[in-house]
C-alpha cells in the first residue's frame, strides 16, 4: 500500500478526494465550513505561485481534514497535509519536525524536500 491511512479517515470523518486543485468544488460538512469561516478572519493569506517549477497554492477553508486549521495547501494540485502549531507556526507531513512561519513557507519547504517528486494523495 502506498498511502498512509489517516486516523480521521478510520473514524469515518469526512474524507474527500482532492484532485486537480478543484478546491472551490469540494463539499464540506457544516462543522468544517463554520470553522473555516472562523479562521478566514484571522488566518494566513492565500497564495498561488510557481516555486522551483512547482505550482503551490494555499487557501483558507476547504481541505478534507479538520486539523489543518481550515487551510488547504496544494502542490501541483495534490493536497499537502499541513498543520498549524499552537504558537502559529506550520508544519507539513513532508517536513514534520521543523516548524516554519507560514503555510507558504511550509509549501516551499515541501517543494525543496520533494526535489521534483509528486506527492501521493493521503486520503
Amino acid at each position: 500500500m502506498s498511502r498512509p491511512t489517516r486516523r480521521r479517515a478510520l473514524r469515518g470523518a469526512a474524507a474527500l478526494a482532492v484532485g486537480g486543485g478543484a478546491l472551490a468544488a469540494l463539499p464540506r460538512t457544516t462543522a468544517s465550513a463554520a470553522s473555516a469561516a472562523a479562521h478566514e478572519q484571522d488566518g494566513p493569506a492565500p497564495f498561488d505561485e510557481v516555486y522551483l517549477g512547482r505550482r503551490i497554492q494555499g487557501r483558507s477553508g476547504g481541505g478534507h481534514h479538520h486539523h489543518g486549521a481550515g487551510y488547504t495547501v496544494l502542490v501541483d494540485g495534490v493536497e499537502l497535509h499541513v498543520m498549524r502549531n499552537a504558537d502559529g507556526s506550520w508544519i507539513s507531513v513532508v517536513s514534520h519536525y521543523d516548524p516554519v512561519p507560514s503555510p507558504r513557507a511550509a509549501a516551499r519547504a515541501a517543494v525543496e524536500e520533494l526535489r521534483g517528486a509528486p506527492l501521493v494523495p493521503f486520503n
Partner: protein, 274 residues
C-alpha cells in the same frame, strides 16, 4: 530479560542479527504496518484536538508502547534481539559506526538523497519504501544536511533538569520536561534529531528509516533517566483533561494500557547502564 544497549557497544554479531530481523519483518509486511500506524497518529494528533502519540503528555508512554510492540515483533523473528539506542549527543557525526555499511548504512548521495550502502539501500531490493507521502520508493538521508548540529550533552542535561513532567495546555505550546524533550519548545532535542537525519526521518513516515527505533529508544531512556532524577515528579495530567490522555486512561490504538502502567520500564526491559 531484554537489555537495551548503546548501539556503539554492539558486537558485530549483534548488529548482524538486528539487521537480519529488520529485513525479515520488512519482507513479511509487518514492518510497514508500524509505519502506517505512526503516520496516522502524526496526521491525527493536533494541538487543539485529540492528541495521543505526539505534541501531548502521552508522547512518551505512547512511543514506549509502540517500541515495545516493535521489539516483540523483532523478537518473534530472533529472540536474542533487543532494540539498541543511539545517544546522538555522543555519536554525533556521520562518521559514527552507526552509519557504517555493516549497520544502518550512511548518508544519501547529494543528487537525490538516496542511501547507497548498507542493508537498507534501495539497490539491495530488500528495503522498498511502500508507505510514503511522495512517489520516491528509496530510502533517503541527508545526515547533518539541515545545518543545525545534533543536541549536546549540556543541552540534554538542561532538559533533564526540568522537574515538571508536563503543563497546560498539554500540547506543542507547553513548558516542562515532555515538550522540551519532544522539541517543540526550547533547545529542541527529539524533533531536531529527526531533522538532522533528513530523508524519510524528517517526515510523517519516519519509521521507514530503521534509525527511528534507535532514536526513540534513546528518547525513552532519557525519560527513564528523568524519572530517576526526579523521584517526586509524576506523569501529568492526572484526570479529567479533554482531548489528552490522563494518567489512568487507555491509549489508542491498543486500548490496553495506560500511562500509569507504562511508567516502569523495568517490567519489560532494562538498559545497559545502571
Amino acid at each position: 530479560m531484554t537489555v537495551r544497549k548503546n548501539q556503539s557497544a554492539l558486537t558485530a554479531e549483534e548488529k548482524r542479527r538486528f539487521v537480519a530481523a529488520l529485513l525479515e519483518l520488512k519482507r513479511s509486511g509487518r514492518y510497514d504496518t508500524f509505519v502506517t500506524t505512526h503516520n496516522a497518529f502524526i496526521l491525527g494528533d493536533t494541538d487543539t484536538g485529540e492528541r495521543v502519540g505526539h505534541r501531548s503528555p502521552s508522547f512518551l508512554p505512547w512511543h514506549r508502547r509502540f517500541l515495545l510492540e516493535f521489539e516483540r515483533a523483532l523478537q518473534s523473528v530472533d529472540a536474542t534481539v533487543a532494540l539498541p539506542y543511539w545517544d546522538w549527543s555522543v555519536d554525533r557525526t556521520p562518521r559514527a559506526a552507526l552509519w557504517a555499511p555493516d549497520f544502518l548504512g550512511g548518508t544519501g548521495r547529494s543528487v537525490d538523497g538516496r542511501v547507497m550502502d548498507g542493508a537498507f539501500a534501495a539497490s539491495t531490493g530488500n528495503w522498498p519504501i511502500s508507505v510514503r507521502v511522495d512517489t520516491r520508493t528509496y530510502l533517503r538521508r541527508s545526515l547533518g544536511g539541515g545545518g543545525r548540529p545534533l543536541p549536546t550533552p549540556a543541552e540534554v542535561d538542561s532538559v533533564l533538569a526540568m522537574a515538571t513532567y508536563d503543563m497546560p495546555p498539554w500540547n506543542s505550546g507547553s513548558d516542562g520536561f515532555r515538550n522540551h524533550l519532544e522539541g517543540w519548545r526550547g533547545v529542541n532535542l527529539h524533533n531536531r534529531v529527526h531533522v538532522w537525519v533528513g530523508g524519510q526521518m524528517a517526515t510523517g513516515v519516519s519509521p521507514n528509516d530503521p534509525v527511528f527505533w534507535l532514536h526513540h529508544a534513546y528518547i525513552d531512556k532519557l525519560w527513564a533517566d528523568w524519572r530517576r532524577r526526579h523521584p517526586g515528579s509524576g506523569y501529568l495530567p492526572v484526570a479529567g483533561t479533554r482531548d489528552v490522555v490522563d494518567l489512568d486512561e487507555r491509549m489508542k490504538p491498543w486500548n490496553d494500557s495506560t500511562p500509569a502502567e507504562l511508567l516502569d520500564h523495568t517490567r519489560h526491559y532494562t538498559f545497559d547502564t545502571a
